[in-house]
Symmetry: C2
Subunit: 329 residues, 2 copies
DNA sequence: TTGTACGCGTTATCAT
DNA sequence: ATGATAACGCGTACAA
């Protein structure tokens, strides 16, 4: 790899001049500029970002920490982040945390060891020292903490929405699937649903689940219909679980949505391709990712912002696992 | 951030001693070791990887370039890579290429500017200068190039398999969906299928598709049944397209697998959750990712390997979009 | 067993 | 308009 020295020698000037020209800081004569340009081209010189980073104590690197890229909600988020970063010439060091604090900590540590200028993280412990003590901007994505930069959607409202819509469509023996206890957004949705259901005076059952994995989802779906065979409405903690429930319901010969209605959460891409297609509460994942990246970049550049937390709207996506209503409410 | 200097001062020794202790290279007295350990703890010192990287001309950073993390096949790959890298304390700079050479080139360039020690890439142009001129090891993932390190599965054999299985199960008016022309694995599958079909003397139609996106998949599914309404067997270019075809077939009131059989490719996680669940040709994506990372790490450490290309087996996953047979062949 | 000093590739300061 | 040089934080000869 050619260095700035090589370029300087090749062009017959000093490294200082080359540096000035590259960063166009300070004067450099048109003629020397040309010479340097040629040298750069001929030697295929590109600045060493590591040396830059060492001197300036900041890089064009950014850290992205997500629970599990294998959960279909996160690729959308990640892509939104990446597109925005890429457009602004930032690069991303990526890691999966598995919602595990130790792993998070390790990642965050190596992020700072590599001089990243900012971090986007989806964590359940935004208030832990891991983040509190960080001297670079952090944006929490799909998670919140009071008064700290974050981009998330209103899970509670989403849960309420799901409950209202399923009740409005006639379900009366509802089962709510409560997502993993340690995952905040899952609990928000759950509470929203419970809130709305309690308010409406309709009784409901709860099935507790402990992960969002594809393989386990089937187990809970089976448990659901074993314990509560007369369920006529399921509010799932996300689309994966909803998909498993749908699959199981059909396997048991139930008609969806006639016998049982199902509402998911997230609106991951596959939801519309199921048969029947899945009614769900949509989070605008891609846009959330983009917004988070944009916010982080602003934080990196300005250091102070007025609008630090962005709550994105959730929307009811009516498809075929719920019945139609004319109008209600 | 504390530097090695701070630690040295705090412990009353020289930076060299601290360095030696950290990397345990050379002697260091037990007493001084203790003092240094305390200093490190108290100052919360962690080595600056950037300075390390600059001096050693190599980092613990690795580049991962995938077409689109939003395509459900890739998260599995990525996770495999990440798990293996993480276990070996390597970090990943991640980018989406969109199968676009310019983007690829930009990413690869910034990878080297950041001193990455190796690259894993899923590209259609492994022979381009972008990769040929790289001075660090590259492993091609889900793609191949003669004699260069790569991890992929036998798409051609997979295509053949799909054709044989669908024929063995009685389809006689088959439509093959030909994936995007510029994506190698898609063409391999296609050719494998065509090969087997031609060999069996069974006629077939072809529908050309130009991406693997969720949104467009539906369009081709519709086109398929408009142009070839009597199709009784579909070999899709991947599970996304297959899912769209399934969805469309059901929408048209066709019975699957009685009226039309469908075979996908990849075995992405959702396939088993569809109703009917999708018969497909499985690629062991997670393991492929792991294998690629393992191979890259060996390349980074050894520089010469005997076994440079790893072909993973594809397997026929019989589920419910195909009919049952007792035995055949 | 420990310390001094140089170099990794840049940028920025200060002369010239 | 340009050049010499210190500094960024670390690892390693080499000297002590």
């Amino acid at each position: 790899m050619a260095t700035i020295r090589d370029v300087a020698k090749h062009a017959g000037v000093s490294v200082a001049t080359v540096s000035r020209m590259i960063n166009d800081a300070g004067y450099v004569h048109e003629d020397t500029r040309k010479k340097i340009e040629t040298a750069i081209r001929e030697l295929r010189y590109t600045p060493n970002e590591v040396a830059r980073s060492l001197y300036k104590r900041k890089s064009k690197l950014t850290g992205l920490l997500l629970p599990d890229i294998t959960n279909p909600f996160f690729p959308e988020l990640a892509r939104g982040v990446e597109d925005e970063m890429q457009a602004n010439r930032f690069r991303i060091i990526f890691g999966n945390s598995d919602e595990n604090s130790k792993k998070e900590k390790e990642y965050i540590q190596t992020f700072v060891q590599n001089n990243v200028v900012g971090v986007i993280a989806s964590t359940n412990h935004p208030d832990s020292d891991t983040y509190r003590k960080l001297e670079i901007p952090v944006v929490f994505l799909d998670r919140t903490a009071d008064n700290r930069p974050s981009v998330y959607s209103d899970g509670r409202e989403g849960g309420r929405m799901a409950a209202q819509e399923i009740v409005a469509r006639g379900s009366r023996r509802i089962t709510v699937m409560q997502g993993p206890g340690h995952i905040r957004p899952a609990q928000d949705r759950y509470q929203g649903a419970v809130e709305a259901l309690s308010g409406s005076g309709i009784s409901f059952n709860v099935i507790q689940t402990s992960s969002f994995s594809f393989t386990e989802a089937g187990t809970w779906a089976r448990e659901l219909f074993e314990k509560h065979p007369d369920t006529d409405g399921v509010i799932a903690s996300n689309d994966i679980v909803a998909t498993a429930v749908l699959h199981e319901a059909l396997r048991l010969g139930k008609k969806v949505p006639e016998d049982v209605q199902i509402i998911g959460f997230d609106d991951v891409p596959l939801s519309s391709l199921l048969t029947p297609s899945l009614t769900t509460i949509r989070q605008p994942a891609y846009d959330m990712g983009k917004a988070a990246a944009r916010l982080l970049i602003q934080l990196i550049e300005n250091k102070d912002m007025t609008q630090k937390t962005i709550q994105m709207p959730v929307t009811f996506i009516e498809r075929d696992t719920t019945r139609k209503v004319e109008h209600y409410g």
